[in-house]
Symmetry: C3
């Protein structure tokens, strides 16, 4: 965590609070409430319908789109490609969170189909990024950039890939940033990664530099988790205090925390 | 907040705790858990299925029905009109929460169709109430009562309209009550308004005076939010402490808080 | 709560933390987040899709299956029998939580159909167990074992029945254990019983003695609730602190709490 990136993250966060982007989320049933609360905590305005008949109205009203493949079902299988097309045609950024594509073959197939439509960012854990990258590698010259699966996937899909974990890696295949923040107990908060991807969506909604915006969002999320972790007695209170910390985070606190490390 | 209305609210709250009404909620996927917890905190008994094949059994067992239009989908489009008809025929009150009808044309159309079936209360924010009122105004003589969109809608639909916001306005088109309680950070707690509408449903289940019951429910909700806000560090803890405060609220505390303002 | 059962429960809990079983949950929309957080708090790995096209992949990857009949819908009516068959054929234990079968006729019919497929444990409240037991009684000689409805159901279905309440009763129809832990305010935490059933599923995933595993899970859940209740100001904070307590619980604390009663 450099103080430079903290000050940049603070600027993007301030822009989110000022512009209050509308973020339409097609996300899974488990994490809807946490995702909405994370977005509201930074001033963004979430909507969450997954219905194919309604999704058009909501994408039309939104500034950016989040597509999370968890709890995929008939409604989502129909609305996701439609919502992605509408967002792309309207020039609105969208973010892909390929939840558990390493476990479910159908999800992987859907992810591979829609990823052609140029997401601004793909956010996943190591196993999900590896599954998505598996059909990209061979024809690329990996000497030219980030040789990891994240790097290969980013170059193949011309997008930013954010592989989150103990240390987050954010890359466009050429330039790579890392964010070393957060708290290990976040792994026991269901939907923490999904909510981080929603925050990335809010940040790319107000900043056309997807790499910078994604890194800024993950830094903000990670620092908020560190603030929350100071008072948290476990993953239950951590999830609740994370919302408080995101709500209270500003440029000054962000720099202070980042410098203190 | 007058001490009279607080003492009236305390009486209705005590009746909810004593009778433990069953409230069937057809509500959106984002707010189900918070809604159920708010109802349980005052002693009501929630059920939440949206399935058209099961909804009849649950409405039959319920004392009142909540219809919230968020995350509308095929199942809800079929079950909502059915559930409303069953409730009306059985003489059970129902409450409409027209979530985001100002954004989605289909929801607005559905809301206009079912609102003919006489909800006890419509609870919405200013934009939702305005959208619902838009086709009612012209033929009414607004000199006879509340000239606001809430007032017009109430007279046109012969029901109570509760427009919630910084100050809640509750009107039947002739008589108007206001509730000035709550906390600004509630706007960042996803589902707070939806949960308030569920509380209104529990109160109209035990009190046939819909205007008084709705005002009582919103006062109870607002005072609980003020109690919670005293210890809350942000919207995360506010949402959790709101449940504690609702659970602990009784007539005495309600009057004490209301008098203290 | 005997010190012996606490030390046995501590052993099973330690095994869950070590083996990190994958638990596929077909559960209701209200309780998904709490259920996932309870499983994560003890080190288990939850997945939650209810989609008939995907459920096979997830059951194949899982160590045990939870079937909760809340918010039953078309997708769940199709995926539940399929998931149960797959689990049974693969020799994986499954747990049935027959939510509100006493209210909804379709759920009761579905529960009776799948219960033939040998769940390891049925977990329900008194009304749900009574509804499920209603077609079993007459032909059994109740002198030979537990004469309660739980006992009859257990003998008829050759499984363990856990009837949870102020005191939990766990029986295979011959041997009966009781767990006297928990906190009365748990009744106001939506999904607490459902989450307890998920914990039972994680415990039977690592222990073939279903009676012991179910009693151990309910003791762990109840002691965690007692730890949480010490600092909880109401059902809101109780639900959050329960996750912290489960996360922090180990053999030592479990014995200490159990002994202290």
């Amino acid at each position: 965590v450099s103080s430079h990136s903290a000050s940049e993250a603070g600027r993007v966060l301030a822009r989110v609070r000022e512009r209050r982007p509308r973020i339409h989320c097609i996300t899974n049933d488990v994490v809807m409430a946490l995702t909405a609360n994370v977005l509201l905590a930074v001033g963004a305005r979430p909507s969450m319908t997954v219905d194919p008949e309604e999704v058009g109205d909501f994408v039309a009203a939104a500034d950016a789109l989040l597509v999370n493949l968890g709890t995929l079902d008939d409604a989502r299988r129909r609305s996701i490609p439609m919502a992605v097309s509408l967002a792309v045609r309207a020039g609105k950024p969208w973010v892909l969170d390929p939840v558990m594509v390493d476990v479910a073959a159908q999800r992987l197939a859907l992810a591979r189909r829609i990823v052609v439509d140029g997401p601004a960012v793909i956010r996943g854990n190591a196993a999900e990024i590896a599954a998505l990258a598996a059909d990209t590698g061979d024809s690329l010259d990996d000497d030219t950039g980030d040789a990891s699966e994240a790097g290969r996937l980013a170059r193949a899909r011309l997008c930013v890939v954010a592989r989150t974990g103990a240390v987050d890696v954010i890359t466009d295949g050429t330039t790579t940033a890392t964010v070393d923040a957060g708290d290990p107990r976040l792994a026991a908060v269901t939907g923490a990664g999904c909510a981080a991807a929603a925050l990335v969506t809010a940040f790319v909604a107000v900043d056309s530099d997807a790499l910078g915006a994604a890194a800024a969002a993950l830094l903000v999320f990670g620092v908020a988790a560190m603030v929350a972790a100071e008072s948290a007695g476990g993953p239950g209170t951590l999830g609740t205090l994370l919302i408080d910390a995101l709500h209270g985070l500003d440029d000054g606190r962000l720099r202070q925390w980042s410098d203190g490390r």
